[in-house]
Amino acid sequence: MKCEEAGELIHAYLLGALDEDERRGLEAHVRGCPDCLAVYYEESQSMEMLLRVGDPVPAPLGLRKRILDMVNASARPAMRPGLIGGPLALLRSALRQPVAATAMAVVSITLVVLSGGAVLLWQEVNELKDEDSRLSANLQDQLDQIQEENERLAQTIVNQLDLAYLASMEGVSTVMLEGGDSAPKSTGMLMLSPNATWGVLLTLGLESLPRDKVYQLWLMSNNIRTSAGTFKVDSAGQGQLMVQGLGDLRDFENLEVSIEPAEGSPEASGANVLKGPMVIDGSQ
C-alpha cells in the first residue's frame, strides 16, 4: 500500500468503516511508515471524542467477579501428570511398607480418640454452614433484585435516547390511548416517526407490576393481534416501549395494552389497561 492510498483510508479506519482486508493492509502500512503514523495520531483526536459518547452506565453487577474467575481459571497452572492422584497414590504406596503401616495404625488410634470431640465440632460447623447458606441466599436474592433494577435503568436510558431522537425529528405524529376497564385513569401516547416504521409508546398512570408480570402492547389489524413488545413501569407509573420491526405502523387499526406473564404471551390473556384506535393526531 502506498502513502496516498493509506491517507485516503485512515479516516474510514478511524470510524471503523474498513473491511477486514483493508484494515489489515492499512495497519501493516502505518506500522512501518512514520509519516502515515503521524497523520494517524493527529486525526485520531476526533475519534477520542466519539469513543466517549453516551452517558456512563454501570457495568452489570457480578461481571467483575465472573471475569476474574475466568482469569483465575485460565491462569491456573496445568497439573503435571506425575502428580495426578498424588496424595492417595502416595498413601497407597506407603501402606505397602511395614514401617509406614505401623505409623498409620498409630494415627488411626489417635483419630478414634479424637473423634468424640470432632463429632461435636462437626455438628457446630454444619450449623454455621447452614446459617451461612441462608445468609448467602438472602444476599443473592438482593443482588438479583439490584441487577434487575440496573438492567431496567439501563434500558430506560436507551429508550430515552430513542425518544429524544424521535422528538427532535420533523414530521412526528401521535396516536392517543385511553385507560381500559381495569385502569381507567391511565393514558398512553404512541409517537410515530415520520415514515411510521417505528415509534415510542409512552404511558402514564399504570400500576407497578409484580416481578412475574409485564405490560404487553398489541397492534391489531383484521382481527389479528400482533405483539409489539413488553415493558414495565416505574414507581411513578411511567413506562416506555420502542415499537419497530412491524412495517408501517399506520397499517394497523387498533392498539391495546394488557397485563401478561413476565416472559410475554403469544395471545392477549390478561386485563386490558390501555386501548385506542390507530388515529393519527397530526404531525409537528
Partner: protein, 183 residues
C-alpha cells in the same frame, strides 16, 4: 501494593506479567465506560455485557500489545470495545440477511445509536453538515464499511471518503475549540 494509585501504563505492565489484581484495578477504572460504549452501539444490555467481558479478557491476554507512547489506555480499550461492538453489529446484519425474522433486532440497534447525538456529543455532531453526519452514523455507530455506505447513499466511494475526512476534521476542530474554551 496500592493498585488504585498506579497509572494505567503501570497496571498494564503488571497485567502482562500475570497480575490479576492489576487487571481488577483496570476493570474498576474502565469497565463502566466500555460497557456504556457497547450499550450505546448495540442497544442491548446482555450483548453489551458480553462485549465488556470480551474486551477485559482481551486486555488480560494481550496487554503486552498496548504501547503507552501511542495512545492513552482509555482510548486503546475504548477502541477495542468499538471494534467488538461493530463486529457484533455486522454479525447481526449477516444473521438478519440469512433470517429475516431478526430484522427487528437490527432496527432496534440502528435507531438506538441514532439517538446518541442528542445526548452527549450533540453540539459537535450538530455542527456537521447532514451528509457528513450520515457517514459518521453509518460508519461509526452502525458499523457499515465505506464501500457499503457508498452503495447505501448512492454516492461515489471517493465522495464518502472525503466526507469522512471532513467530518472527522470538523469534530477535531470542535474538540480543540472546546479545550481552548476551558483554558
Amino acid at each position: 501494593m496500592e493498585y488504585h494509585l498506579l497509572e494505567d501504563s503501570e497496571l498494564t505492565s503488571l497485567v502482562a506479567s500475570g497480575d490479576q489484581q492489576a487487571l481488577a484495578a483496570l476493570y474498576d477504572r474502565h469497565a463502566n465506560r466500555v460497557f456504556s460504549l457497547a450499550l450505546t452501539l448495540l442497544g442491548d444490555y446482555h450483548d453489551a455485557e458480553e462485549v465488556t467481558q470480551d474486551v477485559i479478557m482481551s486486555v488480560w491476554q494481550n496487554s503486552g500489545a498496548y504501547d503507552p507512547l501511542r495512545a492513552r489506555f482509555s482510548t486503546w480499550i475504548a477502541r477495542i470495545a468499538h471494534n467488538r461492538a461493530v463486529d457484533e453489529l455486522r454479525r447481526r446484519r449477516k444473521r438478519a440477511a440469512e433470517s429475516p425474522l431478526e430484522d427487528h433486532e437490527i432496527a432496534q440497534a440502528d435507531s438506538t445509536v441514532a439517538g446518541i447525538e442528542y445526548e452527549t456529543v450533540r453540539s459537535a455532531l450538530y455542527e456537521l453538515p447532514e451528509e457528513h453526519r450520515r457517514v459518521v452514523y453509518l460508519g461509526f455507530f452502525q458499523g457499515y464499511t465505506h464501500t457499503e455506505i457508498s452503495k447505501m447513499l448512492d454516492r461515489p466511494l471517493g465522495t464518502v471518503k472525503t466526507q469522512m475526512r471532513a467530518a472527522l476534521r470538523l469534530l477535531r476542530d470542535r474538540v480543540t475549540a472546546s479545550a481552548e474554551e476551558v483554558l
